[in-house]
């Protein structure tokens, strides 16, 4: 039954998109491992890590698109869930360092020895086990989103109010994680990782595998989102997005729908963060910065909100541009460009890239059919 739902949810575009990601997931590691470094098609290690990072961002963008594009919840604090998942994974990686740290303490991570802590804090217990860490990667962001969402949606905090409160949430977490006595490494965060499940995180093969796993996670999340939004549940979500009051009057428990999708989205963001940390090699409190969360929202806006594929494409495009511009002589102008991107996309390209393409396609089909009845166009998602 389940596979049936998953497959039924795929239209032609979605299938093509999935195949494209799968091809990238296989092809890039192949080009990296099979070809000699002299070959022009060889993919160097740093690019593998870079693409892995993009894939994590794409997953984060997907989670934002799920709630913003299909349920009208604009979260300006999704970076918090991303970072929490990252910290959960980082804690596992820290415990794996063991005696190889600077202070060679078998249990305590370096920063705790440095702060003269004698015992491991209780909330660090269990993180030496990978399955427990993975559970926490999903549970911690999920639980926070559930509690936060339960309070917020129940009292019908919507629109900009919700956005501002989510921004305050990630800001508060950032302040907290910057503190040393919070027990997460303070300013420096968690870094200097050695291995994951026994494999060296620096090794090329591990990086390649992590890249492929991230792509797989992205595909899985995409399938999940597709299945969700094409189901009856998804129709209700869209109804809530377009007319929340009306959906409520029709008898749907709007807050329950919102709470479910918000929590699911936070879990996805947590997974993205967890995959991000071993590939980047560090997690620190600046990941909680409100600016990061808003930047993730603009990826979705660039790609096209409410399109899923657009979120992924937007994340990769914007981040590629960021990598490209911040490394060259154009670096001082990057913030101008990013700022202009925010303004121009909202003003001139409200549907985003994918949304605009679909809109044109729909127009063309309308004209081609030239039928008497009005063509059904994809409506622009309302706020």
């Amino acid at each position: 039954m389940t596979p049936h739902i998953l497959i039924r949810s795929l239209d032609r575009g979605a299938s093509a998109f999935l195949i494209a990601i799968a091809a990238i997931a296989i092809l890039i590691p192949l080009l990296h491992l099979a070809l000699p470094p002299t070959s022009p098609f060889h993919v160097p290690t740093y690019l593998i890590s870079l693409f892995g990072k993009y894939a994590c961002y794409a997953l984060l963008a997907l989670s934002i698109d799920l709630i913003w594009g299909f349920c009208g919840i604009l979260s300006l604090g999704h970076g918090a869930f991303f970072a929490l998942g990252g910290y959960a994974m980082g804690m596992y990686l820290m415990r794996q360092i063991g005696t190889r740290g600077v202070y060679a303490d078998p249990i305590l991570p370096d920063f705790m020895v440095f702060l003269n802590w004698k015992e491991l804090p209780v909330y660090w217990y269990g993180f030496q086990y990978f399955p427990y860490a993975v559970l926490m990667v999903v549970l911690v962001p999920g639980a926070l989103a559930f509690v936060f969402g339960w309070f917020a949606f129940r009292s019908r905090v919507t629109g900009v109010y919700l956005s501002i409160i989510t921004q305050a949430l990630t800001f508060a977490l950032m302040l907290g994680f910057f503190r040393n006595n919070f027990g997460f490494g303070g300013n420096n965060g968690l870094t200097d990782f050695k291995d994951i499940l026994g494999f060296n995180v620096q090794a090329e093969s591990t990086r390649t595998a992590l890249f492929s796993i991230t792509c797989a996670a992205l595909m899985l999340a995409f399938l999940l989102c597709r299945a969700l939004i094409t189901s009856k549940f998804g129709k209700v979500l869209i109804a809530i997005r377009d007319a929340e009051a009306r959906a409520r009057f029709l008898g749907y428990r709007v807050e329950s729908y919102k709470l479910f999708v918000f929590t699911l989205s936070a879990c996805m963001a947590g997974v993205a963060g967890a995959l991000y940390v071993p590939q980047v090699g560090i997690i620190n409190p600046s990941e909680f910065a409100p600016g990061n969360s808003i930047e993730a929202v603009i990826w979705v806006a660039v790609g096209g909100r409410g399109t899923l594929t657009g979120a992924v494409i937007g994340a990769v495009l914007v981040n590629y541009a960021k990598t490209f511009f911040t490394s060259g002589f154009l670096a001082p102008y990057w913030l101008f460009m990013l700022g202009a991107l925010f303004v121009l996309v909202t003003l001139l390209l409200p549907r985003g890239i994918v949304g605009t393409m679909r809109h044109w396609n729909a127009l063309r089909r309308d004209r081609a059919s030239a039928a008497a009845e009005d063509g059904v166009r994809e409506p622009l998602p309302a706020e």
Binding site: R156, G339, L347
Partner: protein, 536 residues
């Protein structure tokens, strides 16, 4: 007749008293100086005490010379000299240059650390009689801390002729401190001293009273214990007052930063993420104004803020109107996208300022009337904070008046309450929008002038306040300006009261959690708009 005789007797008596006094003094200084010729530390120590007690105007010079190793003695002639900076020898007692050559055996009066301490204390006592009032005050306060018993007679002398009430109080306190920490004075004196210290009522007084010598009479110990309790209570009260003051100060800053945000949000339903950058621009306008004044006409520096306030209002307001006309008006009905667009704008503005003025803090000075502080009871109030509170309230009242008594204010309120209805009554809503946005930005610019006086002027200035300002708007609601006023002061004071218990960061987190809980009760803030238009 009888009266005349009595006065005559009195006069004679006084004259003779003065004469004996002078004679005694002169004699005692000479006598005191002979102690220095013995080349013995304990003799020198007696000498220091006697010189200080002699009350001679030369005493200070002699002790300073001794301190600096410029006091010489000759064992043969039993004379003491001061070596002047030009190398000439002066007679220590008279201060006149000596006639003839210096004695062959003239040598420094040696001192050690214990003696240095004694000299310090003796000098402290001597400066109690200095002619400069601030020196006397400092000396009295120093004596309060050092509690040198030997200074007691000098204090009595100083108290008798002191005119300034502040110094008099300081002297009384110093005397009380000495009496309490030594075996001088009767039981009644000590009880009176406890009362004096209790009046002082600060941390030092607390320390003094809780560390009395063990052998004080029981009644004194009892009254001291009572005084300690009373001081502790009053310290708690003053600490609360201090926190409240800091809170009001923070609240006034929040009010300035949030009020513009609140009116644009109220009228247009959009959150301007670039609002913090308007504040930042206001601060940079202040910098530019001061820079120009420094270069062209430094005499005007004290008026720089008076020029900067309207200038920053105009600059920020103009930029605000520009933003509204070029970007925001195309995004009406899409508040979430307005949020993103204005965030982008804030990035651009920050980077633009960083490009023009550099990424470092710029120096904005305080005019003279804004620097300094004064004490009020147990707290210290700085002038710049005080002025900022006044300024914030003035802006608030002006805005209130604008909304209440002008046509533009009426139109603004109408659009806030029900936009379509206002439009059908002939109000040009788009013009109201532009002007409101300009007004909100202009107020943010003026907030920047105020913030430039207490914070670092850097491109990130606005970022530090923007989330707090949002919280004020969320907490206070957008129904009317009073919500912003109450919201900012409640948040400011709550923040400062939480800080001592939870630390600055946890206090902030606690505030955020409290706000999230608060909007459970009132999702649209304390002063919410009511009616059908709200849901639209």
């Amino acid at each position: 007749m009888r009266f005349c005789r009595a006065s005559l007797v009195a006069l004679l008596f006084a004259l003779s008293a003065i004469l004996t006094c002078t004679v005694a003094r002169a004699a005692s200084l000479e006598e005191a100086l002979t102690h220095f010729t013995a080349d013995d530390f304990s003799e020198t120590s007696t000498g220091i005490k006697d010189v200080a007690a002699s009350g001679s105007p030369r005493a200070e010079a002699i002790l300073r010379a001794l301190q600096d190793g410029q006091l010489l003695y000759s064992a043969q002639t039993k004379a003491v000299y001061i070596k002047s900076s030009s190398g000439k020898l002066l007679d220590a007692a008279s201060g006149q240059p000596i006639s003839g050559d210096a004695p062959a055996d003239a040598d420094n009066v040696r001192i050690n650390n214990r003696l240095r301490g004694a000299i310090e204390a003796a000098l402290g006592g001597l400066t109690l009689l200095a002619s400069d009032a601030s020196v006397r005050l400092d000396a009295a306060q120093a004596v309060f801390k050092s509690r040198q018993v030997s200074v007691l007679p000098t204090i009595e002398t100083a108290l008798a002729k002191e005119q300034d009430t502040r110094i008099k109080r300081a002297l009384t306190e110093a005397r009380a401190a000495i009496i309490l920490s030594s075996d001088k004075g009767s039981e009644d004196d000590k009880l009176a001293a406890v009362e004096v210290i209790r009046q002082r009522g600060d941390q030092d007084a607390l320390g003094l009273l809780s560390s009395l010598p063990a052998d004080v009479p029981a009644s004194v110990a009892k009254s001291a214990a009572a005084a300690v309790g009373a001081i502790k209570n009053s310290l708690v009260v003053w600490e609360a007052v201090q926190n409240a003051w800091y809170g009001i100060s923070l609240g006034s800053v929040l009010l300035l930063a949030a009020i513009g945000l609140a009116i644009t949000f109220g009228v247009m339903g959009v959150i301007n993420m670039a609002h913090g950058e308007m504040v930042m621009i206001g601060a940079y306008v202040t910098f530019v104004v001061q820079d120009v004044i420094r270069a062209r006409n430094p005499a005007l520096f004290d008026y720089s803020l008076a020029i900067a306030i309207p200038a920053s209002f105009l600059v920020a307001g103009f930029i605000g109107i520009l933003i509204e006309r070029c970007i925001i008006r195309f995004l009406y009905g899409r508040p979430l996208e307005t949020l993103l667009a204005t965030w982008g704008l804030s990035l651009i503005l920050q980077q633009a300022v960083r490009t023009v003025f550099g990424p470092n803090n710029r120096d904005v000075g305080n005019p003279s009337w804004m620097s300094g502080a004064f004490d009020l009871g147990g707290i210290t109030i700085t002038y710049n904070r005080l002025w900022i509170i006044c300024f914030a309230l003035a802006v608030f009242i002006a805005l209130l008046a604008l909304l209440r008594y002008t046509r533009f204010g009426l139109e603004m309120r109408a659009v806030t309450q029900n936009r379509p209805m206002a439009a059908s009554m002939g109000i040009r809503t788009s013009r109201v929008d532009a002007l409101t946005f300009g007004l909100g930005s202009g107020i943010a610019g003026m907030a920047g002038v105020a913030l430039s006086q207490i914070d670092n002027v850097s491109p990130n200035l606005g970022q530090g306040y923007i989330i707090d300002s949002f919280m004020v708007v969320v907490f206070g609601g957008v129904g009317n300006l009073w919500g912003t006023l109450v919201g900012s002061f409640v948040l400011g004071i709550a923040n400062k009261f939480l800080e001592p218990y939870a630390g600055a960061v946890l206090g902030k987190i606690a505030i955020l959690v409290l706000i999230i809980l608060f909007i459970q009760k009132r999702p649209r803030g304390m002063f919410a708009l009511k009616g059908r238009a709200v849901e639209a």
